[in-house]
């Protein structure tokens, strides 16, 4: 491996070529048995019959998926019509996650751009400042958000104190509170990939555009944005995917009217009233949607890599 030194750390060293099976065994075993295995088990459970005290009876059934998509009336003997309850909950989750993603993009893009144009030695400090809150317990962050936003909370006190408003603004238990909570939960996932893309961007292109009398906003829209698009797409996916299945933000900030997939799934496994196969089926549908989005983005990314040469 004399070439290793010449080509630096990028060369793929193979010192442990013969031992890699043993080295990989623990991770394969733990993740295979306790993550991949359970997901397969969940798929099986979604096709089983529900037991009334929680749990399942080992008998094949399509009831869980049928309940999700079709309404067969109170006694189950009417001709099936589309059941909108759960589709609406999924649709709301997609919508809320989309709004949170947009909010993260609108705030996160300028932030990432600003950080990437700082002097090189202070950039890591900025990135660090943005990521610190992410490492604080999500539950604590969400509770803190609720404390700040509630009707008698510090935000409303402050706004009333300054005379901007007369009576408190109701934010908690609205759609907006959930979007704000999701934004707060996942913002670094937007900032980091966009930052990485802007950092690689060649600013001579902006200079060239300016020389050719493009306005600054035209340059941003027509030159910078297309160049950093892969980073933006990655950021949007990294915010959208966890937002869709989130539980804490809708549960604590949204209240009963703003029910999302996470709460729907959680209810199926709580106490005796739940329906395990239905919960498993809802989880499978969520997982399928996420995998489709991830596959789509992987293909886009591959295309972008190819085009970029």
């Amino acid at each position: 491996m004399a070439a290793g030194a010449a080509s630096g750390g990028s060369a793929r060293a193979d010192t442990y070529k013969d031992a890699r099976g043993w080295l990989l065994l623990p991770s394969w075993a733990v993740l295979g048995i306790f993550v991949l295995g359970p997901v397969c088990m969940m798929l099986i459970y979604s096709f089983l019959t529900k037991e009334f005290r929680g749990g399942v009876i080992w008998e094949f059934s399509l009831a869980a998926y049928d309940q999700f998509f079709f309404d067969r009336g109170l006694f189950g003997d009417e001709p099936p019509t589309i059941e909108w309850t759960y589709i609406t909950i999924f649709w709301r989750s997609i919508w809320q996650a989309g709004a949170a993603t947009l909010l993260s993009l609108v705030i996160g893009f300028p932030t990432a751009y600003f950080i990437a144009t700082r002097p090189e030695n202070v950039r890591p400090v900025w990135v660090f400042l943005i990521t610190i809150p992410y490492w604080v317990n999500l539950l604590i962050r969400t509770v803190s958000m609720k404390f700040l936003l509630r009707d008698q909370g510090p935000l409303n006190d402050f706004l009333i104190g300054t005379g901007l408003i007369d009576s408190p603004i109701h934010i908690v238990n609205t759609n907006f509170a959930v979007q704000l909570g999701l934004f707060y939960s996942y913002l670094p996932f937007m900032v980091l990939p966009v930052y990485a893309a802007v950092e690689r961007y060649n600013f001579s292109l902006s200079e060239a555009a300016a020389d050719l009398y493009a306005s600054k906003w035209t340059t941003l829209r027509r030159i910078v944005l297309p160049a950093v698009k892969p980073g933006v797409v990655a950021g949007c996916i990294l915010v959208f995917v966890p937002s869709m299945g989130s539980f804490l933000a809708p549960d604590l900030l949204g209240g009963a009217k703003n029910f999302m997939i996470g709460s729907l799934i959680e209810e199926q496994f709580k106490g005796n009233a739940g329906n395990w196969p239905f919960g498993a089926a809802a989880s499978m549908i969520l997982l399928t949607m996420v995998l489709i989005i991830l596959m789509f983005s992987a293909r886009q990314q591959a295309k972008a890599d190819k085009a970029g040469g």
């Binding site: 030194a5 317990n137 604590i140 869709m244």
Partner: protein, 269 residues
């Protein structure tokens, strides 16, 4: 690259948005920290500085519950972080120092699986799995689940670090008749230390902070700090919860800061 004039790079308003962003990120944490020192019985009025809610956490009526929860949280986090760091280090050695192999992409996919699958789905799947094999839920089920989902968080900084270390150091040692094991423990491991420490700390925080998966697999009676806090918050936010939250968020921030500075230190020079 030619130096580009800052006027061309800069956009009006981007600095203000960045500052707004920081305010939004930090305001809730700062506010809760401030109010945890509030002397008042109510969470709304401010009546001066006091440590009474911190005392309440350790001696109050709920203190026993929180002590047990804290013990569970910290022992699980230490064991899970240690185990997942060890597993991740071995995996990274194979992935970064194992040459090209067919199952490389599959292995990477498996390692990052906990990051791709929505957390609530992992939670449901793990619950169903333990139920199907007839394992009673409790401390052990939480621990096993935590070891599994901490692996990618430990793996990422460790493999990034290993990629940054040329294998010429180990080759040199082995040219001088060190065995491969000696090259691993005496050369690679010390050079890897910053990556391993930051991987361990991130895994520790992720385990300490986890709510959703723990909530599903914990079973009746066993609580960690996040599930105990969630249970309390459901009846309303109380000042003692703010005191616990402040302590927990300080621990997270201190550990992330250590991890940041450790991973920045370069000992290959």
């Amino acid at each position: 690259m030619a130096h580009v004039n800052d006027n061309i790079k800069a956009y009006k308003g981007f600095r203000s948005i960045t500052l707004l962003c920081l305010v939004v990120l930090y305001a809730p944490l700062v506010i809760v920290t401030i109010y945890s020192f509030n002397a008042s019985q109510s969470i709304t009025n401010w009546e001066g500085i006091s440590l009474r809610w911190y005392a309440e956490v350790f001696t109050g009526p709920e203190s026993e519950k929180f002590k047990v929860a804290a013990f569970n949280s910290f022992t699980i986090a230490i064991i899970a972080a240690t185990a997942s760091t060890a597993i991740a280090t071995l995996a990274a050695t194979a992935m970064v120092r194992g040459g090209n192999f067919k199952l490389r992409t599959v292995s990477f996919g498996l390692i990052s699986l906990p990051l791709m699958v929505p957390e609530i789905v992992t939670a449901v799947a793990t619950l169903i799995f333990f139920n199907a094999i007839g394992f009673t839920r409790g401390y052990m089920t939480i621990l096993v689940a935590h070891i599994a989902f901490c692996i990618p968080f430990a793996y990422l900084p460790i493999s990034a670090r290993m990629q940054g270390i040329e294998d010429s150091f180990e080759q040199a040692a082995m040219d001088l008749y060190a065995t491969r094991r000696q090259a691993f423990t005496k050369i690679l491991m010390p050079l890897m230390a910053p990556g391993i420490i930051s991987g361990f700390l991130l895994a520790f925080i992720v385990s300490l902070d986890d709510f959703i998966i723990t909530n599903f697999v914990k079973g009746a009676g066993v609580e960690t700090l996040p599930t105990a806090i969630f249970g309390s918050v459901k009846q309303g936010i109380k000042p003692n919860i703010m005191a616990i939250s402040t302590m927990l968020l300080s621990i997270s921030i201190v550990m992330v800061t250590i991890s940041y500075f450790v991973s920045k230190s370069d000992n290959t020079k």
